[in-house]
């Protein structure tokens, strides 16, 4: 086994499995829309069995369809928010590192400010500001998550600027654009992509948290947080499957994103080849 599968191959294998799982959930969600809403009182509160692997809820809705549908909504929201957040982090990080001392002070100050308010609370504030709804969730998650990536990119650019090959390029009279494209981008891009992928799990977790609390989406769009908060009400009556399976699926999804990000980092970062 060890001879045929080297580390890189195993990493790629895990990467492919994770991506396929996520894609399957996303695409499956598109087809489950009607099944997720269909109510049938003749089959309500069925514990998990072969026909309904995740059971059915108090309205007779198939929990499997609802879970897949909810996850796909959550993933889409999470991906939107994380991308938005990462782009913001990239711009602010680069601005902070290249535009002089004043810009740097301002950006670091804003980072301190955003980090000072607990994420959940800032999310609540942003959701209230947007009058609750999908817009508030995406904006809120985006606004709370950019700080660490922005710091990373800022540090990276500051370090790159001092590198000898970049200084030499500058002395040779290369334009800023040339240096940025030829020397900076190859270093920054992998870091940015990995940072972006590693933002997804956080974004999805926070998105599910905020919808769980009742901010954000309505019951018409059964995001995973809503499914779980509905399940909350039926916990005490012993309907454990309503909470267990959607939660497990959520955890698997987030783990998939984590492993994708970590494996990408290992593949793209030559320094970790010797680990």
């Amino acid at each position: 086994m060890n001879n045929r599968w080297n580390r890189r191959k195993t990493l790629v294998l895990w990467l492919v499995i994770a991506v396929v799982f996520l894609a399957a959930v996303c695409i499956g969600g598109l087809f489950c829309e009607d099944a997720a809403r269909a109510t049938d009182f003749s089959r309500k509160n069925i514990a998990p069995c072969l026909k309904y692997p995740f059971g059915t809820d108090w309205l007779g809705r198939d929990m499997f369809a609802r879970t897949v549908r909810g996850l796909s909504i959550s993933i889409i929201i999470g991906v939107c928010a994380a991308t938005f957040s990462a782009v913001m982090a990239f711009i602010l990080g680069v601005v902070s590192a290249t535009m002089g001392k004043t810009a740097d002070t301002i950006v670091t100050w804003i980072i301190d400010l955003v980090m000072g308010i607990p994420h959940m609370l800032l999310l609540i504030l942003v959701c209230v500001a947007c009058g609750r709804g999908i817009k508030g969730v995406i904006l809120g998650v985006a606004l709370t998550h950019w700080t660490s990536l922005a710091r990373l990119i800022r540090g990276e650019v500051l370090q790159l600027k001092e590198q000898i090959y970049i200084k030499t390029a500058r002395k040779l009279g290369k334009s800023n654009l040339y240096i940025a494209m030829k020397h900076m981008a190859p270093h920054l891009l992998p870091q940015f992509i990995v940072g972006l992928v590693l933002l997804f799990p956080h974004a999805i977790l926070h998105e599910s948290g905020i919808t769980f609390l009742g901010f954000g989406l309505s019951n018409e769009q059964p995001a995973i947080g809503i499914i779980l908060s509905e399940a909350m009400k039926y916990l005490i009556t012993g309907k454990w499957w309503l909470a267990l399976f959607p939660g497990i699926m959520l955890v698997i999804t987030v783990v998939c994103f984590y492993t994708t990000g970590e494996n990408l980092r290992r593949l793209l970062d030559p320094a970790s080849a010797h680990e």
Binding site: W109, L113, G116, P118, I124, V128, A129, G131, G209, L244
Partner: protein, 331 residues
């Protein structure tokens, strides 16, 4: 030296004050930008449904609904500096009293969780780092990966099903037994009610600190001085005591103090599941009910905790690590 330290503390103090001010402005701006009219939202609520016209007019006057936001902010700020945070619209009590009660409940929970997760996380992280690549390291790593991908509220729900519904050994919610007078509540009752939320918060808090400690520990174990210590024949425990602990403690303490913000965020979710009447639950109901004065106050209090935590971490780092002290604190 002393002068330097005082300067450092003063500088940080001013920075914290400025940031707090900015937090209040940001929170206020966000609340003002909200399309939900705080008065309408609350008058529409059952709790305030019984208000008379005069009361509404009074409230409108008090909140200055027609006034420009800047004036309202200045009025709020003036009251706030005097220690008057206004009156909570949902609880119909002074915000200071509401917060005092809720903060007491929450702090009880958060301190337990914070200490527990810090200690256990540190131990697990050191253990994993010292035994890199062995089964125990893999188990701890796997645990951390799964826990950091699990939403806190879901763990809370699982514990609730297991201990509250199936085993029936722990209460399913609230911070005190139902139907017992406040004077009849014993300390043990409160502890019993805090067990599940505190355990949930600890479980989620462990992964972060454990992962970071592990990574630091691996760096230390790769260093020359540990190699030399091994060559001298020091046992693992001696290496940990003499080299690992000292080097890893500084970053771990900083991280643990920085994680206050996360514990706070987690407590919002966990308190919601257990209907534990703490600050987090108050924040959620304030947010859903557009209770501006309460939400503002909670934001500022929590920011105060976060900044205070960072501040203490900065100072403690100097106490723990003599190199930082000698290198000049203010850097």
């Amino acid at each position: 030296m002393n002068n330097l330290k005082a300067k450092f503390i003063l500088k940080n103090f001013i920075k914290v004050l400025l940031l707090l001010f900015a937090v209040s402005v940001a929170a206020f701006a966000l609340m003002t930008a909200s399309p939900i009219d705080p008065l309408k939202a609350n008058v529409g609520q059952a709790a305030l449904g019984s208000m008379s016209q005069e009361q509404i007019a009074k409230l409108e006057e008090y909140w200055g609904v027609g006034q420009p936001p800047l004036q309202r902010y200045i009025a709020w700020f003036r009251d706030f500096v005097r220690g008057d945070m206004g009156i909570s619209l949902l609880y119909r009590q002074k915000v200071t009293t509401v917060i005092a009660v809720k903060l007491g409940n929450s702090l009880f929970l958060m301190i337990i969780a914070w200490v527990l997760s810090g200690l256990i996380g540190f131990l697990l992280g050191s253990l994993a780092g010292m035994n890199r690549g062995k089964p125990i390291d893999k188990i701890i790593k796997g645990y951390c990966l799964v826990i950091s991908s699990t939403p806190a509220f879901w763990i809370a729900m699982l514990l609730l099903i297991i201990f509250g519904v199936w085993l029936k050994i722990l209460p399913i919610g609230l911070s005190v037994p139902i139907g017992v007078e406040a004077s009849g509540v014993t300390f043990l009752d409160r502890v019993r009610h805090a067990i599940l939320p505190a355990v949930t918060l600890s479980i989620t808090g462990i992964s972060n600190i454990a992962m970071h400690t592990r990574e630091k520990m691996i760096d230390i174990c790769d260093s020359d001085y540990v190699l030399f210590a091994k060559a001298r024949g020091e046992s693992s425990w001696q290496i940990f005591k003499n080299h690992g602990l000292r080097n890893v403690l500084g970053p771990a303490v900083t991280l643990q103090f920085a994680s206050i913000s996360e514990i706070f965020g987690g407590s919002v979710l966990v308190e919601q599941v257990f209907s534990y009447p703490g600050l987090g639950q108050a924040a959620v109901s304030a947010g859903l009910g557009s209770d501006m004065p309460l939400l503002m106050a909670i934001t500022i209090i929590s920011a105060l905790f976060v900044f205070g935590g960072n501040f203490i971490a900065n100072i403690l780092y100097g106490v723990i690590d003599p190199r930082i002290r000698r290198g000049g604190v203010g850097r």
